[in-house]
Symmetry: C2
Subunit: 289 residues, 2 copies
């Protein structure tokens, strides 16, 4: 029986850390505020928006939703982001992706100021992750993996981590964060040969390919910690991860469930980044020591 790495206690501990810091800023007249920029009305965007607003409210963080028409032009979207960049009452910005296919997503993400890019989507923020600079914020999902490991006291230093998936949202940045914590890190992907052998050799496995139930008993070995970053739907329409949880859980030492795993920690991480962005502004103005 594996230890279940549930999000609930992590989210609770993060909340206990965040709430008094938010209160302190409010006493100084600053309400940490997250802008949510949504293009169109995709159901999963709306669903995540509700979750984010609820989490923000529970922590005392304000949210402002900017809803843009699904046929908005690049220029209008960039203008919206620019308006957010220069609005001193907004500290962080979450832009839902993917953007409509007619848009140059990279160009638009790069419009966002690094100090408000709380989900690390701009090249500047990702460059900071790669060069190990403290200037930007790492993508929240990547950082949520580290928070999960830390909360459950799972050592990273000197361990061998295998990351399956090489996206800029999770695979590559989490590899850099693990490296920073002195893990040895292997990045695997769809072209990896003998993937199951590579995965079985790891101490920590992070699955982030978005393929429902793609990894089963053959991919894991006893003693491992498994972080399942996938958020997919199975054939019955139920939420599931990249890992076949029921089959893998009896083998490994610890594993995150889906739902109730990395996803919820990610939302809290967005809030913590928004708070940090607000604290930075308060320190720069001299309001906060």
């Amino acid at each position: 029986m594996a230890e279940i790495l549930a999000s609930k206690p992590v989210v609770q501990a993060m909340g206990d850390d965040i709430r008094p810091r938010v209160e302190r800023l409010k006493e100084l007249g600053i309400t940490p505020t997250l802008a949510i920029v949504r293009v169109g009305n995709r159901p999963d965007d709306l669903s995540y928006e509700r979750t984010a607003i609820k989490r923000a409210e529970s922590l005392g963080i304000a949210t402002r939703v900017f809803e843009l028409d699904e046929f908005v032009t690049e220029y209008e979207l960039e203008s919206q982001l620019h308006a957010i960049n220069v609005d001193p009452s907004i500290h962080g910005c979450l832009l839902f992706r993917p953007l409509p296919t007619f848009m140059d997503e990279k160009k638009i993400c790069d419009e966002l100021a690094i100090e408000k890019d709380v989900d690390g989507i701009s090249t500047a923020a990702l460059g900071a992750v790669f060069t190990d600079s403290s200037e930007g914020f790492a993508p929240c999902t990547a950082e949520a993996c580290i928070k999960m490991l830390d909360h459950y006291g799972i050592e990273i230093e000197g361990k061998h981590a295998v990351v399956v998936g090489r996206s800029l949202v999770i695979g590559k940045p989490v590899a850099m964060l693990l490296l920073k914590r002195n893990a040895s890190v292997t990045i695997c992907h769809s072209r990896t040969k003998d993937l199951h052998r590579m995965m079985r050799a790891a101490d920590i496995v992070i699955c982030a390919t978005g393929r429902p139930h793609a990894y089963g008993p053959v991919h894991f070995s006893p003693g491992q910690t498994v972080l399942d970053v996938g958020i997919n739907f199975d054939m019955n329409g139920n939420l599931c991860g990249d890992v076949d949880f029921d089959a893998v859980e009896p083998i490994v030492a610890s594993i995150t469930p889906v739902p109730g795993g990395i996803g919820s920690v990610t939302t809290s991480t967005t809030m913590e980044h928004t708070l940090r962005a607000a604290e930075r502004v308060a320190r720069q103005s001299g309001a906060l020591q």
Copy 2:
């Protein structure tokens, strides 16, 4: 007996590609020009400068050396880089490092315009490597590794590469370049446990830790390709790599020597980047199709 992956034929082939392209630009009135910025008179900087100038000359590329006093201020150095950024007759810039310890090296490197940063030292260029954008140039040593593998027809796709060392000059960027070419990539370092086992499991091993003769027979296995990026001096004052070449060569399938390996390909890569920077300018002006 391993195949010796010597630089000479690679440098020759690169020269055969570069020279006619330089000629074509010269016919359009554009001489590809590399600025070399050196602070102080460190013997290894001077030695590399001579090598670079000689290589540039042999390819028809012009060089301009900017020598600054070892006690130059950050402001003066930044001003020099800015002057290079805005000088249309200069296409690429090589800044020797390490800079004096009293300087903020990252801040200074970030002064260099991405389009002239032919050795990928700025956060912008490194961010481009990480996000797989074509905007910047990768660090030359990292790209030289790929050029070496390609020249000798060593397949990268689907192979497992182990990179030892996680610097921004070579370890991390070469890992990204290998990943782009669909290798599975492991990054190891000084805190890696069982390093010899990790290394032995690879198809391609890249040693980039700057520790003379640190890797011997225990670290390698038959069939492997070994790229030795180290440029060190042994106890007798002779140039040597990170790998104990004499002991390892009989075991592996192919290996780069030091000297005569990655180092010389790196210099040619700097020249090729300078040419590409000049070609880009010529295309933007409409002079080149």
